[in-house]
Subunit: 506 residues, 2 copies
Amino acid sequence: MPPLPPGVTAQQFSNALREFGSAVGPEWVLSTDEDIRTYRDAFSPFWEEAEEPIPSAAVGPNTVEQVQQVVRIANKYRIPLWAVSTGRNLGYGGAAPLNSGTIVLDLKRMNRVLEVSEENAYALVEPGVSFFDLYRDIQERGLKLMLDLPQPGWGSVMGHALDRGVGQGPYEDRFGAHCGMEVVLPSGEVMRTGMGAVPGAKSWQHNPYGFGPFVDGMFAQSNFGVVTKMGFHLLPEPEALRLVTVTAPRRDDVVPFVNTVGYLKNAGICPASFGIRSPRNDTGYWSASLKFYGPLKVIDAQWEHAQEKFSAIAGVRFQEDALYRFPLSPDAIDGIPNKNVLGIPDLAAFGQGFVRDGRPHGYGHYFFAPIIPMTGEAMLEAQDVFEQAFKQLELPGRGPVGFTGWQRRSLISLISLPVEHDTGKAQKNREAFRGLMRIAGEHGWGVYRAPVVFMPDAMEVYSYNNHALRRFHETVKDALDPNGILAPGKCGIWPRRLREAREARA
Amino acid sequence: MPPLPPGVTAQQFSNALREFGSAVGPEWVLSTDEDIRTYRDAFSPFWEEAEEPIPSAAVGPNTVEQVQQVVRIANKYRIPLWAVSTGRNLGYGGAAPLNSGTIVLDLKRMNRVLEVSEENAYALVEPGVSFFDLYRDIQERGLKLMLDLPQPGWGSVMGHALDRGVGQGPYEDRFGAHCGMEVVLPSGEVMRTGMGAVPGAKSWQHNPYGFGPFVDGMFAQSNFGVVTKMGFHLLPEPEALRLVTVTAPRRDDVVPFVNTVGYLKNAGICPASFGIRSPRNDTGYWSASLKFYGPLKVIDAQWEHAQEKFSAIAGVRFQEDALYRFPLSPDAIDGIPNKNVLGIPDLAAFGQGFVRDGRPHGYGHYFFAPIIPMTGEAMLEAQDVFEQAFKQLELPGRGPVGFTGWQRRSLISLISLPVEHDTGKAQKNREAFRGLMRIAGEHGWGVYRAPVVFMPDAMEVYSYNNHALRRFHETVKDALDPNGILAPGKCGIWPRRLREAREARA
């Protein structure tokens, strides 16, 4: 039997499920053991341990009105909901909630592409729309628009942005590329943000701000509402994409090397996300992978300018990896290994995710993802600090060699820890993960997101002025969600009635 | 005698001023009639009428700690505060509060440039830092960075962004270009947002988001806190700037014409803000002013590409207005009429602001500023709708001829109404202003900001689902500011104890 929500009797739970069934259709209330299994985190750091969070059921509304009804029923019974959209979120917690007994609010049926404008280069989508869905829609209508994709493509366009994921191209800051939201609040009321608050709004997907406070950010990585519609700005299909690699030979080159890459991004000359590594092999000590999207003559000029700038570093080398012209023919697409840089979603990432040190690794991984400044000094410091931390925490390897440049002036390193099914090893890795977050915090670094089960730990690091930011969140939480029914504990934000346990520990 | 805050006795007020004096220094508590005069709105639509909001005093803290003390004293006495930074905000309400008796919290003494990084192209500033101040700081240090400026340059870098003003270059979305905030909350507590919530944060001005909900937007156009520090991303000094004008001859050209300009912005080929007009003279029916910032060879390629795209419109004409190479010599700068496109602040805008129809106009103006989609169809519709509205409201002229493209996919038209010192005329213009907002709302358009005295009217238009957004704001307001001491009524957001009047009217 799946666990019940805390403080809810079996009879109340059964009544609630019946009411959910009236709202969404009984076939969309999923509560058998088999149903529940699909909502567990396949990469859970607590796999099969007592602490592994197991949902009590899942409910799948098909419309905004049904989401509102579900939220109202949850309030009536004080049953917590955990909203998920589509995709698997592997490495960051899957579809599983933070607390056993929570009901998963599965939004995957709401998968309508509501509007796509080629003229103003935007899309308005529901939560269940995957990158595949949106890509297909755009192709079928023959619109000259490109998606800015993560790996892999099955994820939700909206969910990925709300978790502040990153894309491949010039619109890499996926949350930053959104424009306009519709949100079901914890009260069950529906709200539209930005220009969408004007009835019959004409510019909801044109200007993100509207009038007065800009509230959209409150619904990212949050438990303040369930986002049911969201607009996104898209890149007009470029003429071409050029992929290049630049290498620099010496360790000391890192400062001017990263400065040059940062300058190209900050000046809008190469605004896409980029990778930068110290591969320690014959391609050079430092290596940067850059992507230029645009009219051919413009990207030629940009690449030429980039080479001039890099040439201040003695021994720098340039390699042109590929040049793609759009539109691509189906045949051309077939032969391309890394399609997502072209805005074509695929699942090729899974060729990598299950392989560690060249050997298949069956249990998955979870991500430690600290944000550091986009400077060579910060990269060297992070490599040193985490190399020490890896030793201290008895983790294999030497820590980060690669960084990705994204979200304005920041670099991120994705460090994956293996999921273990041996309890002792699993426990050790969890402690190592918490240790990495703590050590990062001691150096002024925090993570950009975290696996669900580690979210409260991640927020512990964001503690300036006795956790002023978390206290702000929790003041807002209590005001908006007095019954604490939306995703209690998500990102460390607990409703009043569940805060006591944390405060007792502190 | 200046008016007292509502519900506060003369004795209490006098005690409060003494306490404010202990906090900030008695010389920075300003309460004589002469002091107060400088905080009136020189362009008030209610000039010298009973309804003109007159502050009771002004208090000028010099540090974050002093801001905290002032806020705590205001809570003790239930005295409302209205935060202003520096500059005049002419046309949008000046330094005057919404309600008579409010104390102006004048932050102009806090004018320190705390940090400027050339490497990561950002600045961290206090509220009183003007564009002049920041420009001077950057020049003195010889940093290769450019400011993205409004007109005129005396305004606060922070205040302008918090009001969601617009700049001239690729970082035109000034609020969007910010990264990291420090905020004094209505409780008097200080909070840092984004990565700044990590003690000793290393990437506060590098990544805007941090972990968990992204709260910064809540402090723009808002009364939820007093922002005391704010980071901004800057453009690395470009090699060159090319100014061009493109014209198209026929009214029907507007759809492809605006589409082309929009494509150039959305694709990052010409991301700066732009102007588009129907000048009805021999330069063509439609005219667009574009700005290309970057390496010379890149902007040459961008401009060439732009011309190819525009050439699909028969009869289109191109004019190269100026080409500037950086760095500019002081002599070169002297001779340039419109310096702010070059990132050099000036006050030249005031040559225009006081002139109407070629004649000097002494009393000023206030701005009606609706947001519409960036399409030719929307421009034509707005021109028609507002031409009708002008007739109906008996306003002189024919309504908007010019639009500015900014903040992603939106066009804005700045329509100025004259301030009148004759009560009858003033009343008529105020009614016309409210009429324009109402008519805009009927067509699905809202304003991006409004003169302070019209803020509650502006928010009336953002009424989707029985004012769900405003109710959200007011729920948050009551939770954060239970005494309602920060800027009551700003953007139509009233604390609980002052909402009854509005609700009685409705």
